[in-house]
Amino acid sequence: MGDEQKATHPAAAEEKSGASGRRTLTFDDVETLAAIARAGHRSGNPYLPEMASVVEVIQETPNIKSFRVRFTDDEVMQSFAFEPGQVGQLGMYGVGESTFAINSSPSNNDYLQFSVMQAGEVTTALHQLSMGDKVGVRAPMGRPFPVREWRDKNLLFIMGGIGSAALRATILYCLEHREDYGEVTILYGARTPVDLTFGYDIEEWQSREDISTIITVDAEFPGWEGRVGFVPTVLEELAPEPDNTIAALCGPPIMIKFCLQVLERLQFADEQVYTTLEKRMKCGIGICGRCNVGPKYVCVDGPVFTMAELRELPDEL
Amino acid sequence: MVASAQNKEAGSAAVSEGVVQGRPIKVVAILCNWCSYAGADGAGTARLSQPHDFRIVRVPCTGRVDPLLVFKAFEKGADGVLISGCHPGDCHYSEGNYYARRKFELLRRMVPHLGIEPERFHYTWVSASEAARWQEVVTTFVTGVAELGPREGRAL
């Protein structure tokens, strides 16, 4: 992978020289996170993507495609580890890179899955990818959902539109460790049934006895027998119990805004509510300066934040 | 268009296979779809001999051609840019080439100001029926550029 020059990490060197203490993040300590994050950069150059090729393309909705990519270097594929909620930069040489949640299950060493909604220059180019095409992947990045801390708690996943991509890996992880958690509820809404992603998961989730899955669409749609209503209204009707429950939220800002109000009325404390933010990102490693919300960089201090943390940050979402 | 003797001799000898001083010259011809493109097409079907090392960009109307596209062509390595459209008055969109005329006249006067030899940019009008005129226009222009040879501009 480019020059094999192994660059020693001055932060480690500086560590020995007793520079002022390392800033600890709120969930796990930084060691495991930094080690995981750097596992993917064998050459010590965090800007150099790992070569991967597309093994499968799934047309989820008219403007969302999921890409299953496999690292060309099999050793990297097998040793690749990430925590649910972490993101990766999927890029095409000549066009650029964009940040997407890794939404395949952390236990899956066969491929990584990224779901891409067509919006700008890079996503439009990604939508032209076909089997065997080469892409660059820089992953894993960012701070994950603290799934270990959630042990023995009830889980409430609230997703809207493409927000499902950000939570899928976490849902799959929790379902694979179902016994570690209390009740698991999945509330997923989209504008129309055609806009519902991961149809293959939804059937499986709806058929399981040990979780309750509520799928809703914003308005009546020919041929749709399921529930109709905006996610916040359905959440209000659902009225989940706040005690010992974690809510994980992702979707369009308007949905998040109203869902937060509902959760507040249902007495959910800010520490119980998690969300994952989306910002324009370039380096993805907390250096280039653009994805900040106040003093926090969404790419390294996030993208996962608790509402308690977000309340502390200035309002420039 | 005084090219040094050595250059002239090398220029005309080499133009036949389009390679001058080790690198083929690159000429871009921006032709309006209704007149000049049709004229060039006519010249082609009539088997009129014309140099083959220029690339045609077909545009709906020269009125749409932004002068910056000409500078971008020079910056990306073009050695000559020719623009040809309908004669003023014949424009398919009635006034496209009237606007174009002012833009290209300003362009023709600014190109030398950037250190690019004037012979490397030319704008003219060729109608759909004037295949012979097209042959004459493109041959003189491409030969002129070939004589100047590849452009080694450093500013643009």
């Binding site: 520079a19 930094a34 280039c288 003093p295 | -």
Partner: protein, 415 residues
């Protein structure tokens, strides 16, 4: 401590240019700028500040991260293994070195993508830096050096580790200098490998690092005499006197946090034209952009300077822009330097050189902004903290605000 005669300076630089590229300030048609030095060019030390800091020599305005190339390999010659692909690459006449074959097409594919990282660092000696320029590098080192467990930037580190910073202390600070206000000083040695101080007929030179000590081995240095040391101290003290401390550092971070929604940002940013000059002449601003530039089938991914005044800096593909209004972009620059960066890297991101004041097209004054936002000076209409006089009136009254640089948490770390 050593002494170098003024007349020996060219010889000294020539000696240095033996194994490193020397950069020094030079006056070119009226403008003083850091430029590559070659024997015979006159070093300009009279003017205090070069037009831009020397940031571009270690953090260049654009640099290549990696080169890539799509090769269409026809079946007949399709290389079976990576070795064949490398052989094929070396044979193809336009395959220049540096590219390393990392991918062999799967049987069905016919496209070979080659990627090669670019990392060459020329060792450099930058002479004629001022303490605020050198301090800029120290503050950028934390970002690119993985401070606090974050990522490490090999491109910056490659250049920075082979760069030697020779600082010349200031003899006549400008009215826009406020290094003492942010924990620095006109003779501050932070980041300097060798600190030169001008004395009659030469410089007193003091090393502050192993690189500095190595530089002082140059035979042209003489032993320093007592009066010269005294003269150096006296010149430093005199310069220290001339630098004002225009705002209160202690309460600044809290002031910025409290004033995030304040309408003052609209007032202060009215005459700002949101261009970005202040960030590009600044020794500390490091934000950058990453883009792919391709011509036909080959290109490179490159990093280039960017800044938060650029309206599309935070523009998202959905069209939403969290910092769309000019005051929010304006606010972000000051918050980043005096609140966000200190919270993450335990030092300020400003060394008080004042270039952002001098070269801003409408002279936005960072000292005025920070004294208003630091909460210790109500905003007088159109009044700059440092300036008063009308064109035919008196010299700018040196507004003394808050006395010496308070040793707040930031400036201690900044030391």
């Amino acid at each position: 401590m050593k002494f170098l005669k003024e007349s020996d300076l060219p010889a000294f630089l020539e000696h240095l240019s033996g194994e490193a590229a020397v950069v020094a300030p030079a006056k070119v048609d009226g403008m003083v700028r850091f430029l590559p030095w070659s024997p015979g060019t006159e070093v300009e030390l009279e003017a205090l500040l070069a037009r831009q800091s020397a940031k571009e020599f270690i953090f260049p305005q654009w640099e290549t991260f990696l080169k890539f190339r799509y090769l269409m390999v026809c079946d007949a010659k399709r290389p079976g293994t990576t070795e064949d692909a490398k052989m094929e690459l070396r044979l193809s006449e336009e395959g220049e070195g540096g590219g390393e074959v990392v991918a062999v097409p799967a049987p069905a594919a016919h496209e070979l993508l080659m990627v090669g990282a670019e990392q060459q660092a020329v060792s450099q000696v930058i002479f004629g830096l001022r303490p605020c320029d050198a301090r800029g590098f120290v503050q950028m080192d934390r970002v690119f050096g993985g401070y606090g467990g974050f990522y490490f930037d090999p491109y910056y580190h490659a250049r920075r580790s082979v760069a030697t910073l020779l600082v010349v202390s200031c003899h006549e600070p400008r009215s826009t200098c406020f290094c003492r206000g942010v924990g620095g000083g006109p003779a501050d040695a932070e980041g300097a490998d060798v600190l030169f101080t001008r004395v009659p007929e030469g410089f007193v030179a003091q090393a502050f690092s192993d690189k500095g000590a190595a530089v002082l081995q140059y035979p042209g240095f003489e032993e320093v005499s007592e009066p010269q040391v005294a003269a150096a101290e006296q010149s430093k003290a005199r310069a220290e006197e001339m630098v004002s401390v225009p705002f209160e550092l202690e309460s600044l971070r809290e002031g910025l946090r409290a004033n995030f929604e304040s309408a003052d940002w609209q007032e202060l940013s009215r005459r700002c034209i949101s261009c970005g000059t202040c960030t590009y002449v600044c020794p500390n601003c490091y934000c950058f952009n990453v883009t792919d530039e391709v011509v036909e089938t080959q290109g490179e991914r490159l990093r280039s300077w960017d800044n938060c005044f650029n309206p599309s800096y935070t523009l998202e593909a959905s069209g939403h822009n969290p910092r769309d209004a000019k005051p929010s972009r304006f606010r972000n620059r000051f918050n980043h330097k005096f609140w966000y960066y200190p919270e993450k890297y335990d030092s300020l991101l400003c060394s008080g050189c004042g270039r952002c004041i001098t070269y801003c097209p409408t002279r936005i004054d960072i000292r005025e902004v920070l004294s208003v936002m630091g909460g210790n000076e109500t905003r007088a209409a159109g009044q700059a903290a440092g300036g008063a006089g009308a064109a035919d009136g008196q010299v700018a009254a040196d507004a003394k605000v808050g006395g010496d640089a308070a040793d707040g948490e930031e400036s201690q770390h900044g030391r």
